[in-house]
Each structure stands twice: as structure tokens, then as C-alpha cells.
Symmetry: C2
Subunit: 252 residues, 2 copies
DNA sequence: CGTTGACCTTGACGCGACGTCAACGTCTCT
DNA sequence: AGAGACGTTGACGTCGCGTCAAGGTCAACG
């Protein structure tokens, strides 16, 4: 038998047969005078077995060991291990499909939803104040906190932020953002800085403030530095002082 | 933020971040004077989104398109396609686990079982006559037929071979194999050749004979040639004549 | 006799999402 | 000043083959 006939018999490609030779799964048969490989029944049988085993999901290394192996004991171990692995894969796929189904049930999925559909909904509630660049930065910060957190933490975070979506809270937030905008070119030592920091700290629900303080400990936290990077000096000072108030308020 | 901080924030490796730059998933941020990349909040947010999408199973190309894409319409298409793909994978894994479970329920799985547990059982029934090399070749041939066939065909094949496992059939087979062994050095024109070929043809169940004739049409079939390759000239002649009788018997 | 076309040979690159050196520069701390 | 933890680019390895590339071999046909 030549390689093509052998391959057709086992239902694989000739490339596969040669690959198996290279990997030691199938021994190299004797050659004819012209260099062609000449196969016998035993090769076909071994190839068929190899194919079955690979279809079960065994790696070529494992197939080689099993087919060469003298102990059927090894095979059982390998199969058990493989089954456990497949079980893990199946669970992972089901989990992914579950999240996909949740996403697809949305009327209009967006990449924001991919981060967290409910957070996206929350951010839409904040639309009225989002025309301010500071509010936009805040929104990014929240979305990122959401993305970085574990699912359980995310739910808690969203619960904490719920109070901020009331009309009164939104109105207060709009005033705060306007006062922040007015500090654009101001001196960091401007007296309005301390007052605004206090008002911002007071505006946040107490437990959300605590969560923020835990997420960004200190003014040298890279997360916090990235947050204030886009702000002017006086505005950044507001953020720093507000953070200090939140951290202090928590420790007391 | 430097690359390590960004990566830790998103829960990926720095290698992954650089890979995403290379693939266009994440834009290259500005550099500091020392050449270090300097990231902002927006980068972190985008990276977090990318991570979520890849965890859902999207390829990096798809992630790039979705994050850059202006149409949420594309995303829905991609997700639907992905879900279908995952469904296929899940079904494939379940099928494999089913076969694995069947294999593992055997008391002592062997590579032969991997080809077909019931065929292995059948071959064990033939043990009494397997000390003959011809019988061994026959067994290989049958196992290979089994391996090459589709599951449905396999069941039919096994049903056809059942009559050969009775004690009387095994006793007859033993005699036939002994007569074949006696022809080892004989002339292909020996009168015993024709007689033995007729007896072999008569020994096989009629429908199994038909199946064999279909599987190996003619004496130039590579399958058949591989089968007789190990036999002496007179023995090969027995096989040829028996095949001819089977083929003729079917056509009539 | 040459040619076509189907087979065979070895060798090498490609895929996908990174992991893992290698060889080197930079920063901080002691 | 040295150590150790960061950063930089570049290139190879993973896994099971698919897919050229650049030929040699063989049977059949005109």
C-alpha cells in the first residue's frame, strides 16, 4: 500500500500520516526502490487506532505513548484526566454562552454592555451631566472600576451608586461640576478649592466613598494619578483633598 | 500609568498588552522621555473591554473591529455567529465525553477498545485460533474493517460475524487454518489450493462474504494486496481464489 | 516517443494568542 | 555602586496539521 491508499483507508490526509511519522506515532515503513513508503495491514490498523484516539481528544504525544505503551493502566489514567479536562472546557463554554445570551437579550448590545450592561444603563442615567469633561472622566473611572471588579463586587458597587441617579442628586452634581469647571485656571491654593472638595466628599454616598478610598489608597496610587492627569492643577487639588476627606472619614 | 500597572489593573500580562498594541486592539500611548509607555484611564478602560470580549471568545481581530467599530450592528452579528460556534463546540465535547464514558465503563480499556470495544470482544472470542499467523492477519483485517467503517456499518458487520463465534464454527476454522499452514511451501498450482479456497468461501456466512467482496473488489485492490503480502505464494493463491468465489457467488 | 496528470518525496511557512527567553536600558533603594 | 524590579524590542515555541514549493516517479494516452 502507498501512502495515499493508507490515508484514504483511515480517512486522514497524507500530510497527517507523514506528520505522525515525524512525531513517532506511526513507525516509518520500509521504502520501495523508488523511495515510496510501502505500508502493510499493521500500519493501517495502527493508524486507524491513532485516529480514533486523537478524535477522542488525546494529544499526539499521548497517542504515541498509548500505542507504544505496554500497560493498559496508563490509558485509563489518561482517559480519566482527559474527561476531567473536557468537563472543564464544557463548563467554560456553557458559562460563556450564558454571558452571551445575557448580552444578546439586550435590545441593542454595545461594547459598553460587554463591560457590564447594568453599568451601561447606570451611565445612561448620568447623561444629563456628561457634557462636562470632568463628568466624563468620572464615568470612565466608574466603568473601569466596574470592569476590574469581580461580578459580586460589581453588584455591590452598582447598589452603592443607585442613590446618585435621583433627580435631586443629578441636579446637585451638575452644580458641583460647574463649580469645578470654574477652577480651570485657578491657583491650587484658591479658597474655593477646599470648599468644593468638602462638597464633593459630602455628595457621595458614604459607602461608595469608602469603596473608592479602598480602590485608590493615597495620592500616589497609579489609578488615582491617571484619574487626575487630565485635570488642571486646582482641579487636581480638589480631587486630592476630597480623597483625603473620604479616607479620613472612613478611618474615624 | 506604566505598562505593568495597566496590566495589573486589567488582570492581564504585560506581554498581552504589547501584543494588543501589535494587533491594533489597543493604540500605542505616548512615551515618556525614557521610552516607557504612559497610559491613561481611557487605555485602561479600553483594555478592560478588550479583555471581556476575548473572554467571551472573540478573536483579537473581532475585538479590534468591535472596539473601533461605529456600528453596534456588527457586534450583534459577531456574537450570534460566536454563539453558534460555541454550540457546535459544546456538542462536539459532549459527544467525545460520551464515547469516553463508554470506554471508561469497560473493565479494562485497551487501544483495541479504542477502535471498537465490541470488536475487541469479538476478537477475544477468536482467541482459540489466533495462534496461527494467518488467523492473526485475519483478525487485523477485521479490526481494520471495523476501524475504517462508520458506526452504523460497524454494527452490521459485527452482526454478520456473530455466527463465527460458535464452538462448531471455531472448530471448523481451526481445521481450515491448519490446512492453510500446510500449504506454506507448496506450489500455487497444488490441487489442495482450489479445494481449500472453496472450503474457506463456504465457511464464511453468506452476507459477510458479500460485505468482504464489496470492501475489497478484485485482486488488485490495495487492501487485498496488503492482506496477502505476508502469505506464501500458494496461500496467497487460496485467498485469491476464495475472493473470486465470493465475488462470483454474489453476482449470481 | 513525448506528454499529461496523478501520485510520491523533503522542506518550510502559517495559524492564534500569547508564554518565555535573550540581551539590554532605567529607575529606586540600600 | 550594586542589586533588584521595572521597562524596551525581537524572536522562537506552542499544536496539529494545511498549504505551497520544487521537484522525482509512474501509468496511460496520443
Amino acid at each position: 500500500m502507498r501512502i495515499g491508499e493508507l490515508a484514504a483507508l483511515a480517512g486522514v490526509s497524507t500530510r497527517t500520516v507523514r506528520h505522525y511519522h515525524h512525531q513517532g506515532v506511526l513507525p516509518e515503513p520500509p521504502r520501495r526502490v523508488n523511495g515510496y513508503r510501502e505500508y502493510g495491514l499493521r500500519d493501517a490498523l495502527r493508524l486507524a487506532r491513532a485516529r480514533r484516539l486523537t478524535e477522542l481528544g488525546l494529544s499526539l504525544d499521548e497517542v504515541r505513548d498509548v500505542l507504544a505503551g505496554d500497560s493498559a493502566r496508563e490509558l485509563r489514567e489518561i482517559l480519566l484526566e482527559l474527561d476531567a479536562d473536557l468537563a472543564r472546557q464544557e463548563a467554560a463554554i456553557r458559562a460563556r454562552r450564558g454571558r452571551l445570551a445575557a448580552l444578546l437579550s439586550e435590545e441593542s448590545p454595545s461594547p459598553d454592555d460587554a463591560v457590564s450592561p447594568r453599568m451601561a444603563e447606570f451611565l445612561r442615567c448620568l447623561e444629563p451631566v456628561r457634557d462636562s469633561p470632568f463628568a466624563a472622566a468620572d464615568a470612565e473611572l466608574l466603568a473601569l472600576l466596574d470592569a476590574a471588579a469581580e461580578p459580586d463586587d460589581r453588584d455591590r458597587l452598582l447598589a452603592l451608586m443607585r442613590p446618585m441617579t435621583t433627580p435631586e442628586a443629578l441636579a446637585r452634581a451638575e452644580v458641583l461640576y460647574r463649580r469645578l469647571a470654574e477652577l480651570d485656571g485657578a491657583d491650587p491654593a484658591d479658597p474655593r478649592v477646599g470648599a468644593l472638595a468638602a462638597d464633593f466628599a459630602g455628595h457621595l454616598p458614604r459607602e461608595l466613598a469608602a469603596a473608592l478610598a479602598r480602590a485608590m489608597p493615597g495620592a500616589d496610587d497609579p489609578f488615582f494619578r491617571a484619574f487626575v492627569a487630565d485635570l488642571s492643577p486646582a482641579q487636581a487639588e480638589v480631587a486630592r483633598q476630597a480623597m483625603a476627606l473620604l479616607a479620613g472619614g472612613e478611618s474615624s
